[in-house]
């Protein structure tokens, strides 16, 4: 909050502190939608620009990260609408076959198959919205209520989606990496 006050008082350089603190999470969330690093960086940059422009509207009642991730969500949604990308609900078999296609070459390029790298690769196989929920919950450490605020969903809706995302993730991991995960 102190940093935000400094920025609002005209100390523009103080904003770099906020950028450095949240850039990884904003970038990771954007990457879940963009699928490409360059595009994810553009989206993430756009998010920080919007956050700066509308910083005066941050009321300070909730966490700054929740407010920031809401901007990430709406920015990525706008991008997807423009690109006419749709989130398709995959059946169990389709999900596993998509995971097969996407990871067949990427896994062979991994120099060291650590557990975290394999999990990260598995998260990338999830549909966009599921990947976002997993990222918000585990990496960005947002609560179920905060995720509901960010994504415009009720708490019970978020719980169900989080449960389904975890199920899908477990299936991908069990299907693809059962011989490689350290138990």
């Amino acid at each position: 909050m102190a940093v935000i006050q400094l920025v609002l008082q005209g100390q523009q350089q103080a904003y770099a502190t906020l950028v450095q603190r949240y850039q990884q999470y904003v970038y990771t969330l954007a990457l879940r939608y963009a699928g490409r690093r360059e595009l994810a960086e553009e989206l993430a940059q756009d998010v920080f620009l919007k956050a700066y422009r509308f910083l005066a509207d941050y009321k300070g009642t909730g966490k700054f990260s929740t407010w920031l991730y809401t901007i990430v969500h709406t920015t990525c949604l706008s991008y997807m609408r423009k690109e006419e990308k749709t989130t398709t609900l995959l059946t169990h078999e389709q999900l596993l076959s998509v995971a097969d296609l996407r990871t067949a070459s990427s896994i062979s390029r991994l120099e060291q198959k650590t557990q975290n790298q394999l999990l990260d690769a598995a998260i990338k196989q999830l549909p966009d919205a599921d990947g976002q929920i997993i990222t918000l919950f585990y990496m960005a450490e947002q609560s179920v209520e905060e995720i509901g605020t960010i994504m415009g969903l009720t708490t019970s809706n978020v719980k169900v989606k989080l449960f389904r995302a975890r199920q899908k993730l477990k299936e991908i991991i069990e299907h693809q990496y059962k011989n490689e995960l350290i138990k």
């Binding site: 920025v7 609002l8 523009q12 350089q13 904003y15 770099a16 950028v19 450095q20 850039q23 990884q24 999470y25 970038y27 990771t28 990457l31 994810a40 960086e41 993430a44 940059q45 920080f48 620009l49 700066y52 422009r53 509308f54 910083l55 005066a56 509207d57 949604l77 749709t86 989130t87 557990q115 975290n116 999990l119 990260d120 998260i123 919205a129 997993i134 990222t135 585990y138 990496m139 960005a140 179920v144 994504m151 415009g152 969903l153 719980k159 989080l162 449960f163 975890r166 199920q167 993730l169 477990k170 995960l181 138990k183």
Partner: protein
């Protein structure tokens, strides 16, 4: 989904709630007892807990080294906008909303009076005894009808947009 699968799913949902700290006191006590006394529950709990622990260790992605500099360069020529409520007057917004509601109400009332006059057998007495003759002029009727249609279209657009956004991520 058969009963066995439903039971497994219910058990998993409850265990995830327990792990996330989302259970109330009664549920928490019940799940603790089940984990302590039932080998199936205990085994599933350990499995989900291990999975949960592994997920918490996943690191976020890193943007390029010059990301912060790029952002700071972009905001150098940008000004912070004033607070939204400083230039949006809620009184004006409420007045516009009240006007729209009045137009819709008058449109419906005129329609209701029109039905009355065309089917005298079904005529219902006008309880307010309001003289509506002046409303039967073509210009006024057209204006009211068009405004009412516009209001309904705006509401429909808002509803469909919200529904589409929700459906997109359901």
């Amino acid at each position: 989904m058969n009963t066995g699968q439903e039971h497994d799913e219910e058990m998993e949902m409850l265990l995830w709630d327990y792990i996330d700290g989302g259970c109330n006191a009664t549920e928490e006590e019940r799940v603790s007892q089940l984990i302590a006394n039932d080998s199936t529950w205990k085994s599933k709990y350990n499995e989900l807990l291990a999975f949960n622990t592994s997920l918490t260790g996943v690191a976020p992605e890193q943007p390029s080294m010059r990301f912060t500099k790029d952002v700071m360069d972009a905001i150098a020529t940008t000004a912070i906008a004033p607070k939204t409520k400083s230039y949006i007057n809620n009184y004006i917004v409420r007045s516009i909303a009240a006007f729209f509601l009045l137009v819709i109400t008058v449109s419906l009332f005129v329609l209701y009076s029109g039905v009355n006059s065309s089917i005298p057998q079904l005529a219902i007495k006008n309880p307010l005894k309001i003289k509506l003759d002046w409303l039967s002029s073509g210009t006024v009727m057209n204006f009211i009808a068009l405004t009412g249609i516009l209001c309904l279209l705006l509401l429909a657009d808002h509803f469909i947009r919200n529904k589409r956004t929700r459906a997109h991520f359901s």
